[in-house]
């Protein structure tokens, strides 16, 4: 039973009455129903506002201004306004609170406590503008050693004996994280896949199948096999640069997926192969994977099904025992391993799990990298790290901590126009990104969005080259797990120990 509390709104919508010419464009643009016209003037219901800024941008007179509502709540350092709001929401509605995007608690970022090294005197730096700095990555399992057969007395006449597992090449150490058609719109998906193609990087398909229009972008798409197995058929398996078994996601470790029925439009129904309007539920575990041996079996099955043509990987959330789990996964045959930190994003996850489960990617990737090295497995596998790679500095640091490739998703959405209002699960995204409603989806121009993503990652890659040049490194592969080039300046030296990074000054 819903017994909603009368609580003050988070935001306040201010309309400058002098400038407002009542064109009602704000009414048409607000998908959350904030604005209405009462015959005389535009009226705003601030408690519906999510501060997505659509009206602010679209108002031709720039007459709308959204501010934080700082009205009356008595201050309390422990029972913050957010905690009180959570209690009011749950006592009013009685349900598991949903949330979207990544963990929004103000937890100190370890990336921000790390500093990069640069060359001075004893080793020369490299000028990235005039010298070649390699940012290519080969995605897939590498052989531990190469063996050759000498065909004749001529020493040049040799052939490779070692069988090379499937690998594909990407031009930047960047992967666009998995976001399914369903969690984001058709236009957003298309822009991402086109951008990935032009940049020659990879993008994840998410677990909602691959719409047939997107098969042409397959060489740059890693398709995901999650517990719901949505849209998984032979075409899905064969139209991918790589296959990824999704065990967990940083935003919701141990949790399944839940695409509400109202988001299952005919397009989504067709792609996921489920009836229109029914919930798309992903079970919490894969019911054919209850152990590492079972995971090895599904990896083997996927390799068998694709006739050993593409790399098969696994994605896990960063949790307390990531390192031994990662060892098991690599021994189980995974060609690449994705680790998603606790700040990783989502279209919908219970707030309790998003905000409180998992560990930071910085710690997880360092531990996994170190453990794989100890077990002599690191060289064989491509490690991908995600979970709040916000900008190029995070990308560089995560590679130095042990990743081959950095995975990010929210920066891509922000590049396309997302304002991080964190309402993705409501399907009302006024910018046409996290919605399936036709009139909203149309708002996202595929070409503009694509070019913005391209601009963003080209600039990240240039910045990566600048840093590599300053460090005197000519290939990103030499930065990988090069923790000597990092120093820690945060408050907790124990973190530096776990990261295997010295304190600044040491």
């Amino acid at each position: 039973m819903t017994i909603a509390h009368e609580i003050i709104s988070y935001y306040k919508v201010n309309i400058n009455r002098e400038d407002c010419r009542k064109c009602k464009r704000c009414i048409n643009n607000c998908s959350y129903g904030v604005f209405s016209f009462n015959g005389e003037k535009i009226v705003a219901e601030s408690d519906k506002c999510v501060a997505c800024q659509r009206c602010v941008v679209m108002c031709p007179e720039k007459a709308i201004h959204i501010s934080q509502n700082e009205s009356y709540l008595p201050p309390h350092g422990n029972y913050t306004r957010k905690i009180r709001n959570i209690i009011w929401a749950q006592s009013g509605n009685g349900g598991v609170l949903l949330s979207a995007t990544g963990n929004d608690r103000p937890i100190r970022s370890i990336f921000d406590d790390l500093l990069l090294d640069a060359c001075q005197v004893t080793n020369p730096s490299i000028d990235p503008l005039r010298e070649t700095i390699e940012t290519k990555i080969f995605f897939g399992r590498k052989p531990k050693k190469l063996e050759f057969i000498v065909e004749s007395d001529d020493l040049n006449d040799v052939s490779l004996k070692t069988k090379i597992d499937p690998n594909f090449e990407i031009d930047m150490p960047i992967m666009i994280g998995h976001m399914s058609l369903g969690s984001i719109s058709y236009n957003a998906c298309k822009a991402i896949y086109q951008a990935a193609g032009e940049l020659n990087i990879v993008a994840g398909s998410g677990e909602g199948g691959l719409y047939s229009d997107f098969y042409e972008y397959a060489p740059n798409i890693i398709t995901e096999i999650a517990s719901g197995r949505f849209g998984v058929d032979i075409n899905y398996l064969n139209n991918a640069a790589g296959l990824e078994i999704k065990i967990g996601q940083g935003a919701k470790p141990g949790h399944g997926g839940h695409l509400p029925g109202e988001k299952v439009s005919s397009l989504i129904a067709q792609t996921r192969m489920i009836p229109k309007g029914s919930d798309a539920l992903s079970p919490y575990p894969h019911h054919d994977i209850y152990s590492i041996e079972d995971l090895a079996q599904l990896i083997a099955a996927l390799k068998e099904a694709t006739r050993y043509k593409v790399p098969v990987g696994v994605k896990i959330a960063a949790v307390h025992n990531s390192a031994p789990i990662a060892v098991g996964i690599v021994r189980g045959g995974a060609d690449f391993l994705t680790i998603d930190g606790f700040r990783g994003g989502t279209g919908a996850a219970p707030r309790i799990i998003r905000d409180h489960a998992g560990i930071p990617i910085e710690l997880a990737i360092a531990a996994v990298d170190e453990r794989l090295k100890e077990e002599n497995l690191r060289e064989g596998v491509t490690l991908i790290a995600g979970g709040s790679i916000r900008y190029s500095a995070d990308l560089i640091k995560v590679i130095a901590l042990g990743a081959d490739v950095a995975m990010c998703a929210l920066p891509v959405l922000i590049a396309m126009g997302c304002r991080v209002c964190q309402q993705c699960f409501r399907g009302l995204c006024s910018w046409g990104i996290a919605t399936q409603q036709e009139y909203l989806v149309k708002r996202l121009d595929i070409n503009i969005a694509k070019n913005r993503i391209i601009n963003l990652f080209r600039s990240w890659n240039e910045e990566l080259k600048e840093v590599l040049g300053a460090m005197g490194i000519d290939s990103v592969e030499s930065l990988r797990s090069n923790r000597e080039r990092l120093r820690y300046i945060g408050p907790n030296p124990r973190i530096a120990d776990i990261l295997g990074v010295k304190h600044a000054g040491e």
């Binding site: 009836p275 041996e293 090895a296 068998e304």
Partner: protein, 283 residues
């Protein structure tokens, strides 16, 4: 354990199998009594299919996994022996007949085709089944028909002649599961099975499709979250009859025997069983 060894050592040598260009070929899966690796066996199947072979007989199959994985086309595979896990995984079209029992995850994420098992089946049969038919003569294990789906006229069917265990049709999103509750005696006669027809948590989380159980036992206590017992009317009967006829023909069961007891139908309460669990208020 074969899987691990294969994936790590990764030294599968290309062996040149002698496969003749015949329409029907026979492959011995355990020459000299030693079962060959699943990868080699599947390679032989693929080579046969590429050579336009339409019927493959696999003899002495002994636990080899992934037989028929992602295989497409109008092909018939006859398995004499016990196939390993994931028989017919991602399969899209072929027919598989098994003269023996099966292990777990038969027809995992199968798209289209038919699997007929003249024996018992293991756990998690038809996981995320998207289309096609599975007929199992005797009993099966836990979590059968989990997360089966359907889309428009693509409706997967599982018929089990014997009994099932817990979590039958869990998370089911579409398709039809039929359980007959029969027992097959060694002398060939068919009698009523005295074991319970299903375990607990029947259809838990079901949000599409239907489960037919041929029993007069009270199933109320066994129902899982979101499942209900619904009426077995003429429409329902018409829906399953063609499949039952086909099933009975395959295993030589008189159809009248199947109809001498009424069915109970388990259906979802809603297409959105957990819609009310979540609260999306702005925090």
């Amino acid at each position: 354990m074969q899987v691990n060894k294969n994936m790590i050592v990764n030294e599968i040598k290309e062996k040149n199998y002698e496969i003749s260009l015949k329409e029907i070929i026979e492959i011995d899966a355990s020459p000299n009594g030693e079962p060959i690796e699943y990868r080699d066996l599947n390679n032989m199947i693929h080579k046969s299919v590429n050579n336009n072979c339409k019927k493959i007989v696999l003899n002495n199959v002994c636990g080899q996994r992934f037989i028929g994985a992602a295989l497409q086309g109008d092909i018939e595979i006859i398995i004499n022996g016990i196939p390993g896990n994931d028989l017919g995984i991602f399969m899209d079209g072929p027919k598989i007949f098994v003269n023996g029992n099966c292990e777990d995850q038969v027809a995992n994420t199968m798209n289209h085709g038919m699997i007929i098992i003249d024996g018992d089946g293991g756990d998690v049969i038809g996981l995320s089944l998207r289309g096609g038919t599975i007929y199992i003569k005797k009993d099966v294990g836990y979590r059968v028909g989990i997360h089966m789906k359907e889309y428009e006229n693509k409706i997967p069917i599982i018929i089990v002649g014997g009994t099932t265990r817990d979590f039958l049709g869990e998370y089911m999103a579409g398709g039809i599961v039929i359980v007959l509750g029969l027992k097959f005696l060694p002398d060939g006669s068919v009698v009523e099975n005295k074991q319970p027809i299903c375990g607990n948590e029947l259809g838990t989380g079901i949000h599409g499709g239907s489960i037919f159980l041929r029993t007069d036992a009270n199933l109320e206590d066994k129902l899982g979250v979101g499942a209900k017992i619904s009426e077995y009317g003429a429409n329902e009967k018409a829906k399953i009859t063609p499949f039952l006829i086909e099933y009975c023909k395959n295993f030589n069961i008189p159809i009248d025997l199947v109809y001498n007891k009424p069915f109970q139908v388990i259906k979802p309460i809603s297409k959105r069983p957990f819609g009310g669990t979540y609260c999306s208020q702005l925090i």
